[in-house]
Symmetry: D2
């Protein structure tokens, strides 16, 4: 029985996106993780209830599907993290690593950690009936609280992976402005700290990070940009996908988009619709985080590199 074989699986947890063209990073990462761990099952889960509902509706919408033939099945039929984990368990996978593709340890990460903690607390009278042997959570791009992996090293690795963005802005004599998601429910200081890491790594180019929600807001970013008399910016999302927020809040034509607001101050704005998930260097970081989580917990994931 599979039950006894200790099958292993990986769940890649994305917040999600509803723009079909924003899905490239999701598909690419699933493919690369499968290539890296060829004997391990790899599934995608979407953590946003709202986004999942939209895809659920599209599954049966013939017109939509006819117009968008390239939508990957991995997204169209993606489950939430609970069902993704549970269905793997049902098939006999009892060692599961959930690797979020979140930027930092914010609300989505806290919620996902609570799912993992709840599932992992399930005990059975006979220990061999426990649903999971090991159910583990990998860390976000910019690291997570705790002594095991220094989040500042994670920030440095992420900053290094963004070198191409800095170079692109530099060639253009432009400042690099990132729009992160942020939130209104707790401090988003990781963005500020990451901005500082980038500034120290790339002192030649002015770099600014703001968020759609919460701190640092566009106003704050704008006043900082004006303070240093920047005339030209390369504007990119600091999000895994370039989707609704990037298309609307960042690059939309309405008056209150970041593009419009910066332009209205006489700044030349070049928008680039590319999610972090589309960068191979960023995807490599998550694969490293996966490998760390496996190694830290004495799990052997047969790995292409070792062959």
């Amino acid at each position: 029985m599979k039950h006894d074989k200790d099958e292993k699986a990986i769940v890649l947890a994305w917040f999600g996106a509803t723009y079909p063209k924003a899905l490239a990073g999701i598909t690419a990462m699933q493919r690369e993780v499968r290539e890296a761990f060829p004997e391990t099952r790899v599934e995608v889960a979407l953590t946003s209830n709202m986004i999942r509902r939209i895809w659920q509706g599209r599954r049966g919408d013939k017109d939509y599907l006819a117009k968008h033939k390239g939508v990957p099945a991995g997204v169209l039929y993606a489950k939430g993290p609970l069902a993704a984990i549970a269905d793997l368990q049902d098939e006999g996978y009892r060692t599961i690593i959930v690797q979020p593709t979140f930027i930092y340890g914010g609300e989505e990460f806290a919620d996902l950690a609570s799912y993992i903690r709840g599932l992992d607390s399930i005990e059975t009278v006979k220990p061999r009936n426990r649903p999971f042997k090991k159910l583990l959570l990998g860390r976000p791009l910019l690291g997570m609280p705790g002594p095991r992996h220094d989040y500042r090293q994670d920030m440095a690795a992420a900053a290094a992976a963004l070198g191409a963005d800095v170079e692109l802005a530099g060639k253009d004599h432009a400042a690099l402005v990132y729009m992160g998601h942020g939130n209104k429910f707790h401090s988003t200081g990781a963005y500020i700290e990451f901005q500082q890491v980038m500034r120290e790594m790339y002192p030649e180019t002015p770099i600014f990070i703001g968020t759609v929600e919460g701190f640092p807001s566009l106003d704050y970013v704008l006043s900082a940009i004006l303070h240093v008399r920047v005339k030209k910016v390369l504007l990119k999302p600091l999000m895994m996908v370039a989707a609704e927020h990037a298309g609307h809040d960042m690059a939309g034509d309405q008056d209150d988009s970041w593009k419009s607001v910066l332009s209205s101050q006489g700044i030349e704005v070049r928008c680039m619709m590319q999610g972090l998930g589309e960068k191979p260097e960023i995807r490599d970081i998550f694969i490293r985080h996966l490998r760390d989580t496996a190694g830290d917990n004495h799990i052997t994931l047969p790995d292409r590199r070792r062959e």
Copy 2:
């Protein structure tokens, strides 16, 4: 979005069975629960990992399926309790009652309660994102520990539901002998107590309850039967399904089956292969337990009776 509509679902948790003809009770109960609560989604889950693996294997076994055309999809594709609950949650059901069809609050019930407790402990930063509004567990046939519902009343109701068995034995001037499952891991005293409840309710007919595993064993039952000089017994499983154990341990032709052992002592044995789940009176009890769990927790399950 479904997410916000507070959809309700019921999961009927069976230990399971691999004999196709043993599935009648499972199918009948699912149908009757659907009839009782016509606006509520009703799914079946199988708690036995081993039995689920066997059905998983049969899903793709063309020969098997050709020979057993009547296997209900609800069993052939049944998930374990974790996946059954999680998949409902994924579809937007956030109020879920899990009604086990276990005989008493033993190992399977303890394990299932731990699943429910683990899932119910999942918290989210925004309370509205909690995966479940209410995730509840109904009580087994013979009740469960706790002050809310007196397990002795549950025992009395179960004893009343078995009147036809007693009558059948009585007409035949036979003793009624039940074979329960039991276990080796903790005391199965509920069987003894239930035997006493039945004896008091039906004093005319000698009634004996033994278990395949643990106490009271066949030896114990046999010595009690011999003590009161019973010459004839009606032998039935005290299990929800009449499946492997009933066919083999109880009614098998090998020397150590209950039938053989009793026969070898000169006792006339009539075996009846009927699971408790095939009795409408027993299924009604579980529907009452469902209704109690809903009512105790202020959940309105639109109910045929009220229309």
Copy 3:
């Protein structure tokens, strides 16, 4: 700092008693556990809220204390299990075994297990700050559910430890009747199963076990006694302490005490006010259970036997 030394402690969890003379077993067990594990801190906790409140009231009651000079401080100042565990943690004890002195895995054990589970679920950002290294629960006299230790062997050990009671009854040509506590909230079948274990171990002497609450009731025991025409009984509590229940329900002079009811049927009754905790053989079993829990979890409790 103590914090880093991994100090070990044992908490002996008793339901409790308010009769000063019933405390002998509690005091003796604490002393013997200290002797067995001379380098380990040993405290007593009382799990009954009501009994603890009574002792709390007596702490400041000068009249009471003057009249009862022998009340051991370990009981007079005993805390509940939560405070007993927490105060040890506060002093730097991070490996703690809680050994209940319950008869079987009933309500009190389930509640205590929930305390342990809740406390053990406390995680900290830095693993070294976790309040407990290991917080463990020993098993009751008659064992507990699970595959690690066969509860039937625990029952056999307990039955063997009661040989003196059987011998005493035997010499007197009396039946041995035990009054257990029982409960109304779930099946107390462990008593019946234990009765069977004793009957098989001591076939010469009629042995009956009943409970104050729930099944098997005095009525049930009485009818069984009358059935076998017993004329004389030795009546003892199957409780750790011979206190309120033994003094009142068992041996009281009122009409509905077990003594009165049995006597009214012409049975000669000899009551013996001795709690199981007063028997060295029973205390030895709990010390063995402690040793098992330590050994199963790779905890070294320096032990007198090894010196």
Copy 4:
């Protein structure tokens, strides 16, 4: 019995301090909370294991006690949060609010929340035996994640409470520099966001916040100070107590103290050894947070204001 009276208690959880003169804020807050809620028991707990060990050692140190007669018993005998909560429960307090006096929702808060969550997960067979009716956690000075109370309003309230510091610096034509604790294990962005809130509230005075551990470091603060050519600073701890860190890291005479480093750059430094807990306005915020937690959870704490 107290058990049934639903007694209420408040635990004020401080990280702690070993400098006797740093304890003034702790004592003052305990007194004021008692005055605000005169019918509610109010205890202090220290969350730092290391600090608690030091006080435990001093309890029996006659020389120390002779020299430091003013050490309040509430600190000298303070327990950790687990023992403080458990001992109150043991005395019959079943509704307990734990109000941390932490600056923000960082490591200490996450750990304390885990204690509360673990304790609150304890269930009992009879619901009335649950150790706690309600066990709740108040929010830190700068708020905590979640939708219930906007942390930005908490930051604004805290900034308003620090007006006197700004005024003092302003009178002196000095910049205001706060030294927070920070940490190395996760992003301390709350400090940066709070700095921005203060800068917007007090635009006349240059305000800088740095941390002993992690980001923003003294180097970072120093470069910002030099950038705006500040010549004079008022240096204060952004910590609840002015203790070890304030005395050594901030105001110490060694070369790498903040005072020395800033002075070495030609900046005139005035150090002020005052913990936030010594400010009545800050203590009032915590009392408001307590009141919010009670109100949000329908707990009536009889309150002086209402009389």
